[in-house]
């Protein structure tokens, strides 16, 4: 993922995604590709933080962008394109979770091993991604991913998750503390 929104430099937050959504509603494929480059890995990481299953998270990423392509016309510009995009991803991921009860998916226990076949990840990437998926609680993980990957403010995350801001802040700080030791390990690699 690149800088989240090229238009951020203009001082207009999220204007890039907002413009892209408008263009996508008119059937502009380049705008969809742009939005995928700016938001694709964040959507994947968020889905992975909810589902803890790589294939399912990949499916949710794909479904999210297909939904965006179809439904961009229903988006009402309010300066909150990220909240809209990640709410779609969240709903799709939650739907998977509910369906999973019937199929019983197994959650990997060793995430470093899980990521071992991914040639784009170096050993320190694997240590950090595994720490994120293994050592944090469900909400801690989602808050960390939303903040780090999307640049959403803690206040916006609190609003989206329906939690008090103080809860989101303390969960975030606790999560970072837990991740610091993994970072030290990754740093020595």
């Amino acid at each position: 993922m690149y800088a989240l929104d090229p238009a951020d430099a203009s001082g207009e937050p999220n204007a890039g995604a907002e413009n892209d959504l408008r263009a996508i509603a008119e059937g502009n494929r380049e705008a969809l590709a742009r939005l995928y480059h700016s938001h694709g890995s964040a959507v994947y990481a968020y889905a992975l933080s909810i589902l803890r299953h790589r294939e399912e998270a990949e499916d949710v990423q794909q479904d999210t962008f297909v939904q965006i392509w179809r439904a961009a016309g229903t988006y009402r510009p309010q300066g909150k394109p990220d909240a809209w995009i990640f709410t779609i991803a969240r709903n799709l991921a939650m739907q998977r979770l509910r369906e999973r009860k019937k199929t019983v998916e197994t959650i990997p226990e060793d995430w470093q091993e899980e990521f071992a076949d991914d040639p784009r990840m170096d050993p320190s990437d694997r240590v950090l991604a595994a720490a994120l998926l293994e050592s944090l609680g469900d909400e801690e993980r989602q808050i960390v991913v939303l903040h780090i990957m999307t640049g959403m403010k803690h206040r916006e995350i609190a609003e989206m998750m329906g939690k008090p801001l103080s809860t989101v802040l303390s969960k975030y700080n606790r999560a970072l503390k837990k991740l610091r030791s993994a970072y030290k390990e990754a740093d020595s690699l």
């Binding site: 993922m1 509603a25 059937g27 494929r29 969809l32 590709a33 995928y36 480059h37 694709g40 890995s41 994947y44 990481a45 992975l48 990949e58 794909q62 479904d63 297909v66 939904q67 965006i68 392509w69 179809r70 439904a71 229903t74 988006y75 009402r76 809209w84 709410t87 779609i88 969240r90 709903n91 799709l92 939650m94 739907q95 509910r98 990521f115 784009r120 990840m121 170096d122 320190s124 990437d125 694997r126 950090l128 991604a129 994120l132 909400e139 960390v144 991913v145 903040h147 780090i148 990957m149 989206m160 998750m161 329906g162 970072l176 991740l179 610091r180 970072y183 030290k184 990754a186 740093d187």
Partner: protein, 507 residues
């Protein structure tokens, strides 16, 4: 290490983990567009915003969509709206929005967010809807009208301000958009001086069989069933049968008072104005027990349900007793009470033996100094005080320094026993023999014997015995723990010399 650097590294790791599926996404999108064009050609209805048909966009939900479409078609025929004047897409149910307060209303809308039908799901909802005709109006207008009618009929007021919005849509993006829109419309409609609504919103699925059977069994909306299901799963004291008949406001209060997490998004705070509040509930319980606030060591109060009424579950402890009250949340009346004797604390036992005379700080200092083999003239500083824990006297603490060695003692309040001792040498490693290597250690058995003999306890009386070798600032230390009756002993033994570095006795 800076947080920003940590955040950056995690971001990079996750970027590397993410797949690149753009090509596959673009080709699915092409298929979707193709189908969409096809649909509009077939339809005689033209929409300004291009949207595909729900059936085409969500193949997995096809059966649900068919069911909705069938219901909608029946409705259209029944009420005699000119089906020939509306296109297929306009007459089909695209999404269903459920509003629950206590009145429970189901609104079906088409892709243009025009109301196809509004249905009362319980008797209160019939009162609210009356002969209101919402067919064909836009969703936000309908929501506004329904909320207005609920305010007028007194179902929503200062004391009951919570509304549950549940959106059922074959399409996740539409669902998310509708969830936000309806919540915003409600917030706008309820923004008055005295009332600010709490809106809980969620998306639900009609294909969830557990949910549909739960809703049918208790005659409640799917939305309320989904919320209750999550709540009872996390709080075993609550039941579906009880909560099915309870207003959303009460469920919202139970959720926040008991820190229950749900998949709903909440804006605003549920009103507890109909209830006396946690501190009044605590006072009612204290008054009933004849206990003064000053004697309370610990207390908690939270909302719960008891025999079909809202209660505050109040718990508090005094030195001797444990109290457990249920207080009627509306009236403050005592619903139930349970009182148990606590395990006697060390202080109460000792004070009963010594008839409660405190030894005083000077005596505590003398005891500590004597133990350290120091006199008042040796010390560079000396300080002592009464230590309180949770509002009750715990012990005397005595601190003093001799040269670069700092001593900390805890001395019993009534009998002057040494409860703990900690000796530390500033800038050094204290009363240890320095550069210990593992080969010169005394061994775990010797460490345990040293601790037991200091405590005056025989090995057979001690239980839960633990001995662990630890390295602290380069010095090996045995950490010894054991329990005798209700006393817990903790020692640190110098692993080389066997001398006692610190100990603590807890009741």
């Amino acid at each position: 290490m800076k947080d920003q650097e940590l955040e950056r590294r995690i971001r990079t790791a996750m970027e590397h983990a993410a797949p690149d599926r753009l090509d596959s996404i673009l080709s699915s999108c092409d298929e979707q567009k193709g189908e969409y064009t096809n649909m509009t050609t077939l339809s005689n209805f033209s929409n300004t915003t291009p949207r595909p048909d729900a059936e085409k966009s969500a193949p997995a939900k096809r059966s649900v969509w068919r069911r909705f479409a069938a219901i909608a078609a029946a409705l259209v025929l029944f009420v005699g709206i000119g089906s020939y004047s509306m296109g297929r897409r306009a007459a089909a149910v695209d999404s269903i929005i459920l509003l629950d307060v206590n009145p429970s209303i189901s609104i079906s809308v088409n892709v243009n967010e025009k109301v196809l039908s509004a249905e009362a799901l319980n008797a209160d909802a019939e009162t609210v809807l009356g002969d209101m005709d919402l067919k064909g109006v836009s969703l936000d207008v309908a929501v506004n009208a329904i909320i207005g009618a609920m305010l007028q009929a007194g179902y929503l007021d200062e004391a009951r301000n919570s509304i549950l919005v549940s959106v059922e849509s074959g399409d996740a993006a539409r669902g998310a958009a509708l969830e936000q829109e309806v919540s915003a419309a409600i917030a706008a409609a309820t923004q008055t001086d005295s009332l600010s609504a709490a809106v809980l919103s969620q998306t639900i699925s009609a294909t969830d069989e557990t949910l549909t059977s739960l809703a049918a069994e208790y005659d409640i909306s799917l939305g309320k069933a989904a919320l209750i299901q999550e709540v009872v799963a996390q709080d075993a004291t609550l039941t579906v049968a009880d909560l099915a008949g309870v207003d959303i406001n009460e469920i919202a209060l139970l959720i926040s008072s008991n820190n229950i997490s749900t998949s709903t998004t909440q804006t605003g705070t549920a009103s507890d104005k109909a209830y006396i509040g946690e501190s009044a509930a605590l006072n009612a319980a204290l008054a009933d027990a004849g206990v003064s606030n000053a004697d309370v060591l610990r207390s908690t109060a939270k909302l719960g349900r008891e025999n079909g009424v809202m209660v505050y579950e109040v718990e508090f402890d005094t030195a001797e007793m444990e109290y457990d009250y249920d207080i009627d949340a509306g009236t403050g009346a005592v619903v139930s009470v349970d009182i148990e004797r606590r395990y006697s604390s060390l202080e109460t036992v000792i004070s009963s033996i010594t008839s409660g005379t405190l030894i005083g700080e000077t005596a505590a200092e003398d005891i500590a100094l004597a133990d350290a083999g120091a006199s008042r003239t040796d010390v560079t500083y000396l300080n002592s005080w009464l230590e309180y824990d949770d509002g009750r006297m715990e012990c005397y603490e005595v601190e003093f320094a001799v040269g670069s060695t700092v001593y900390e003692y805890k001395i019993g309040l009534y009998d002057g026993t040494i409860r703990s001792r900690d000796v530390e040498t500033r800038g050094g490693t204290g009363a240890s023999s320095g550069n210990t290597t593992q080969s010169t250690l005394i061994g775990e058995d010797a460490a345990l014997s040293a601790a037991l003999s200091h405590a005056g306890v025989s090995a057979s009386d001690a239980s839960k015995t633990k001995v662990k070798l630890d390295r602290d600032d380069g010095v090996y230390v045995y950490e010894v723990e054991f329990t005798v009756g209700w006393l817990e002993y903790e020692y640190e033994i110098d692993a080389a010399s066997g001398s006692i570095l610190s100990f603590e006795i807890d009741d």
